[in-house]
């Protein structure tokens, strides 16, 4: 993963999460904001399974089932993905992957 500053990583991360959701739902990314809830985006449980799968592929993370159930909106998804990426950085020594 390329080195990036904290701020741009957050922005980039959020944009990437939104892009994954947009592609999976086949809706324009512009129609999604960090404040959108899954309900507003008409994302049902089956869509959620698809999105989680795509997020795992995009970020090379494993999202636990409990984490999936507590996600209610885009902001939750971004925060969850960020936590998992950071947890992964902590457990994997630099240069090990």
């Amino acid at each position: 993963m390329p080195e990036t500053s904290e701020i741009s990583e957050i922005d980039d991360l959020g944009a990437r999460v939104i892009k994954v959701i947009a592609q999976t739902q086949r809706i324009p990314a512009e129609s999604i904001s960090p404040d959108s809830t899954f309900e507003e985006l008409k994302i049902d449980s089956l869509d959620g399974i698809n999105i989680v799968f795509a997020l795992e592929n995009e970020f090379g993370i494993e999202i636990p089932d409990e984490g999936v159930q507590s996600m209610r909106g885009v902001r939750d998804a971004i925060a969850g993905v960020r936590r998992l990426i950071e947890a992964k950085k902590e457990t994997v020594p630099p240069g090990a992957v």
Binding site: Q25, R26, L46, I49, N50, F53, E56
Partner: protein, 402 residues
Amino acid sequence: MNRVAVTGLGLVCALGNNVGECWQRLAAGESGIRPLRDPGSPPYKFRTGAEAQNFRPLDHFSEKELDLLERFCQLFTVSAREAIAQSGLKFSGSLAEKTAVITGSSVGGQFSEEEGYKRLYRENLPRVAPLTIPRTMANAGASRVSLEFGIRGPAYTISTACSSSNHAIGQAFWMVRSGQVLCAIAGGSEAVFAEGLLRAWEAMRVVSPDVCRPFSAGRKGLTLGEGGGALVLENWEHAKARGAEILGEIIGFGMSSDAHHITQPCVEGPARAMQWALCDAGIAPEQVGYINAHGTGTEANDVIETQAIRTVFGRHADSLLVSSTKSMHGHTLGAAGAIEGIATLLALKHGIIPPTVHFTAPDPACNLDVVPNEPRQAYVEIGISNTFAFGGLNATVVFRRA
């Protein structure tokens, strides 16, 4: 006991994307068998198939919908839409609960299943696509149509190899006849052109290298086909009361098991299915004028089916018109009963018997009038549609001209 009308038909197969297109070609004796679009690598031993080459999923579904719908499910849904539109039925109120959806499928969502295996075993990826389960389930077509039209009565899928959709139509017929439901959407679909399944058929050594020529001397086997077919069955009085056009009638259904061999056919089982069907319809063998044969084009089936027909019909067998439309739309496995049942009903309705094409010369072991190559004009009151499955499971549906 209620009479059972057919008030809607829908069809997608190698011959076309709707009933009109398909019937035009059936009635003209035009084959839909073509070189395989993907001949395999290394090439399959057979070079042809009856693919629904003009079926474009995006003409019928959004990309988002297609994420969830396997090809076999798409084929059934599109045929059911056509059938339901023709029937004019709207499934609101109590009719929704008094309508069944019964489908047949032999292999279900083969593409997604194979895709998953490729990821796991060829690419060594640990995970398969998340919607693999709802895409592959054999009842996907029945469930989709139930959801799309709000049909809330009995809905299920029968998997009996090549008899699947005849069993589905037969069960639906009995449910309408007995009054358990007022209407039923019955039929089936299959999408067979998936690599693993084609290799499995190749290994069975029953697929013709060129074309399917049922009952003909020099036949070399079946040709695989894909498609979907749906019939709207409706309580006769219900259809009359709402002024629906009645396209034909189903009057009998019979089924049997050979208990003989897992793949080798025998005379007794198919004969008994036909006898049961005639008995169920309350008609004498002499009243039947047309048989849409199982007629796969394999050496064994066509000889055995000829003998079974002679067993049931005796001297009348020489007056019967017998054709295998598989010579045009291929063997569509779990969809065979639906597609061929529709062909049977339309033959009665239009007074044209679709021929057995690719016929080169008579085989003395198949000495029936198999309507070789050219369609035949004939007024026929009653026709039957046979399917005999691997596993020895036989099913026959009896149709009457409306």
